[in-house]
């Protein structure tokens, strides 16, 4: 048993200790794993000493797939030979992360048989990460997990594992069926996950409302955020109850004054009025007064394209390219899926190597992207119109005509197509 003096320091304290867990795998784990975990702990303690990592990548996959496994080979295998391979399987969780204890136990059993016994719920992209096995174990573990009804997630230049918030399953704020959207899109595009051939990674994330509990706008190439078009629903009796409970001043301070567009006024009789033309669907007032306020009935989603982390050009958030898309009927879901397919296809065709779609849009300009996607420009896509006069506008009139035509159509007028 390798001494792990530095890691031992991390066993105190009130928070559950991963070190204690690793040691238990070393000491009480499946017999075939104990040595591996001993060396793994040795290498990790070595990292703590040297303040350096000692893994390198490589190529490992399961039969039939090109991605989904993160291979790790030790650079200090001479010192810690038993953990010289320590691969991870990325496995897609059920949408919304629902489990029974039963299925969790089955996963544990599989991973004890074919892996180290170390599992993360979940990776930052949403995968269950089965961490620590050798090349052979990868295939075996996958086969059993696959039999259990689970499939590998994404890695490499491919469609990645998606995330959706708990939403419809347990949240009154949810404006669309996240499970359906999540499963439909990913399962339709599944080939792009299993056989990586995109210019770079592509992530979907699904949040039922603008609270964005899965961080979609920053962290997804394609973020689907629930919203609504009609008025916020107000139960004035419950408004009064809320005010009676927490106080009038407190309500003004935390609701009225915190609305970003000052769309809320409080009447003298302790009823609320909301100027729904000004409301930007930020969710704040609804969050505070969960009983009294709720999203309207005419629900759907906003879609933001292009979020990503810092590499190359710096952090990007998604751009709201679809301010509203109805998402209720079968046709609505088909339209959404079709749009997702189009965007991924556009990405496949137009992104440079190792370029995220947000970078592509930044490079070619939003108008070019919208044109390719056949989306009409809308002021909701911008904080404000252009400030730069460096642009060629000779077709401005034709473009304006399209707007007027669209507005006329929306107003219910019949216009020749």
């Amino acid at each position: 048993v390798h001494p792990t003096p530095l890691l031992d320091e991390l066993e105190d304290g009130p928070w559950p200790s991963f070190v204690t867990g690793l040691k238990r795998l070393r000491d009480e784990g499946a017999p075939n794993n104990r040595k591996m975990m001993n060396d793994l702990l040795g290498q990790l303690n070595h990292s703590y000493e040297k303040r350096l990592g000692f893994w390198k990548g490589g190529t490992v996959s399961v039969y039939g797939y090109g991605g989904g496994v993160i291979p790790r080979f030790s650079e200090v295998a001479d010192k810690f030979p038993e953990s010289k391979e320590f691969h991870t399987l990325r496995v897609m969780p059920p949408a919304g992360y629902h489990y029974t204890t039963d299925v969790l136990r089955k996963m544990c059993d599989i991973w004890e048989r074919h892996g180290s016994g170390l599992i993360a719920f979940h990776g930052q992209s949403g995968d269950i990460m089965f961490q620590g096995t050798d090349t052979e174990g990868v295939q075996k573990a996958f086969d059993e997990l696959n039999e259990l009804g689970f499939d590998l997630g994404g890695a490499g230049p491919a469609l990645r594992t998606a995330m959706s918030c708990v939403g419809h399953a347990r949240c009154e704020q949810s404006c669309y069926d996240e499970v359906r959207a999540h499963r439909t899109i990913i399962n339709t595009l599944l080939d792009e996950m299993h056989r990586p051939s995109l210019p770079y990674k592509f992530k979907f994330k699904f949040s039922g409302c603008a609270n964005d509990c899965v961080n979609a706008i920053h962290r997804a190439d394609f973020a689907v955020i629930g919203t609504w078009r009609d008025d916020i629903k107000i139960d004035q009796e419950k408004v009064k109850e809320h005010i009676a409970t927490v106080g009038r001043k407190y309500t003004i301070d935390t609701v009225v004054n915190m609305c970003p567009t000052r769309a809320i006024s409080l009447h003298d009789d302790d009823t609320l009025e909301i100027d729904n033309k000004s409301c930007v669907r930020c969710m704040h007032c609804i969050n505070v007064m969960t009983k009294a306020l709720s999203p309207g009935d005419d629900r759907g989603v906003s879609i933001l394209i292009g979020g990503k982390r810092a590499l190359k050009i710096g952090d990007l958030m998604g751009i709201n390219v679809i301010p509203f898309m109805k998402l209720e009927t079968d046709e609505d879901f088909e339209k959404l899926t079709e749009f997702a397919e189009n965007v991924v296809e556009f990405f496949a065709d137009n992104a440079l190597e190792h370029e995220r779609i947000g970078e592509t849009i930044d490079r070619i300009g939003l108008p070019a992207f919208l044109e390719a996607m056949e989306i009409d420009p809308d002021p909701n896509m911008v904080n404000h119109p252009r400030t730069s006069c460096f642009v060629r506008t000779d077709d401005f009139d034709e473009e304006a005509a399209k707007w007027f035509e669209r507005k006329a159509r929306e107003a219910g007028l019949r216009v020749a197509e």
Binding site: C282, L304, L316, M317, P367, E371, R392, D397, W403
Partner: protein
Amino acid sequence: MNEQATTPRMPDEVGVPDPFQYMHPVLKKNYGNWDWHDRPRAGVLRHVSKSGDVIYTVRAGTQRQMDVFTIRKLCDIGDKYADGHVRFTTRSNIEYLVADEAKVAPLIEALQAEGFPVGGTGASVSMVSHTQGWLHCDIPGTDASGVVKGLMDMLHKEFVQEKMPNRVRITTSCCQINCGGQGDIAVNVQYTKPPKINHDLVANVCERPAVVARCPVAAIRPAMVNGKPSLEVDERKCVCCGACYPPCPPMQINGDDSTKIAIWVGGKHSNARSKPTFHKLAVANLPNNAPHWPEVKEAVGKIINAYKRDAKHWERMGEWIERIGWPAFFEKTGLAFTKHHLDTWTGARYTMNHSAHVRF
């Protein structure tokens, strides 16, 4: 090597003249010692000093490009009804300084009688910022004086009263160089086509490397045309900015089909409430329809009217739009939102809506 008969006069490098020699004595006496002001009526300011002194200012509009007759007329009025001390404002209005309240009303009457509108103070539409245009500039796409005259004729009423939500500052620029700056409303030439090159002239007139360097998008390259050194523009790259035209007049950027007018809104210089902002595109491609520019006037009218109807007191144009949102701005003004409203320049990403905040 003969000496010149009369040696030329060497300039006396006096620099910025001392204003105290021209300043109204009440101003001079109370320099740095003012206490408060108010506006007894549109076009009139009353400033009260901590010493108790009071000075009245009567503001009147001018055409800026003034003939000596007009200037002398303004002087005559100043001598007769005021104290012979005047100043001009940042926006080319003339201000009469009057110590005696009794002179204010006759002064106003005299100005009005001579056709000088009294106003431009407080929440009015002040004089449009003026640029040179066809009258004097070497690169103009339109005539500033003409556009300004048209606009101020239309907005005369809003100059002489203070009935807007807050000050409205309009600017014009007669080419895309934009000497007129930012404005609550900016009426600017916007080129819509790449320059047409007169290849015969380039070699003689233009320093080619300097011109190439001037292009913000590197769309210009040296080329041989008809055996002569000339320049070539990559039309897919060109953003029609007109920057190549001043250093190389054979790169003609102006033309009836290409010189159009765009209107921008929401620029703000003051730091009052919100930070200063740049103006944003409202509408482009309006015809350069001299001498009355009716399409421009119509669009400006729509914007001013919507603002006047809808904004709260002290809200500047851009602050109003910020509050109601851009979708409502386009709705209330009846203007179109197009792909050209989506910024494509450096930093375009900072103008995008990276949030789920939407308005319906």
